[in-house]
Amino acid sequence: MLAATVKEVSMKQRMSWTRIVLVLYALAALATLLYTIGAPGATEGS
């Protein structure tokens, strides 16, 4: 019972952190897509 509860809490924490990272990643991706950071070679991959 205790082990199951600990496992459930741990899974919830993992899912929470995954979601937090996803939100931050999405906002970074938003900036990446809108940037036109310039000049030759500088924009590759941006």
Partner: protein, 186 residues
């Protein structure tokens, strides 16, 4: 590559630091609902195709006459529009900065086909002043709205930014700060 990563992650990191300094918490991000995230990944796929699939670029831009940058901008702005209506008011203000920056960049691109960069700014940033890429071209006397182009050299990072880029970065930082500070809805 490291410089590009620094440039792209810095606005988020600044937002996280500012958010925590203002009493925010990562847990508050869980209350933020991001809808239709697939639109962002679709825009990223279009941008990757623009760089790495010349036949797609040729088909879309040369045959169909549609600038791929415009497609990327349209998809991203659609995503912002779909999400911003549900964001808290402070985040909506941050989104205004992001959209203003995107409009500034978009206008320069729409007026010239690609984002113009100031050759002298490129030189100051330690870059070549003559090379053209899928996204950029050196500004000359025929360039329109050159002031909205990439004119701000960042010698330490070897990059040239536009005013729109700065607004986008400020908006992203502000959005992250506000998201960390927002109170979760019960």
């Amino acid at each position: 590559m490291l410089h590009v990563m620094m440039l792209l992650t810095t606005p988020v990191l600044v937002g996280v630091v500012a958010g925590y300094a203002a009493g925010g918490r990562f847990a508050n991000l869980l209350a933020l609902r991001l809808r239709r995230l697939w639109l962002l990944w679709l825009a990223a796929a279009v941008q990757v195709a623009q760089y790495h699939l010349p036949w797609v670029r040729s088909l879309v831009q040369d045959e169909l006459g549609i600038p791929m940058l415009a497609v990327v901008f349209a998809i991203v702005l659609l995503w912002v529009a779909l999400n911003v209506v549900r964001w808290p008011r402070p985040m909506q203000l941050a989104a205004v900065l992001i959209v203003l920056g995107a409009i500034g960049n978009g206008l320069a691109i729409a007026a010239n086909g690609r984002m113009p960069y100031a050759p002298q700014a490129a030189v100051r940033a330690g870059l070549s002043a003559t090379v053209e890429g899928p996204k950029n071209e050196p500004a000359d006397d025929d360039t329109r709205l050159a002031f909205l182009g990439d004119v701000i050299p960042l010698p330490l990072l070897g990059k040239v930014l536009s005013a729109g880029d700065l607004l986008i970065a400020a908006g992203i930082s502000a959005a992250v700060t506000m998201a960390l500070r927002q109170e979760p809805t019960p």
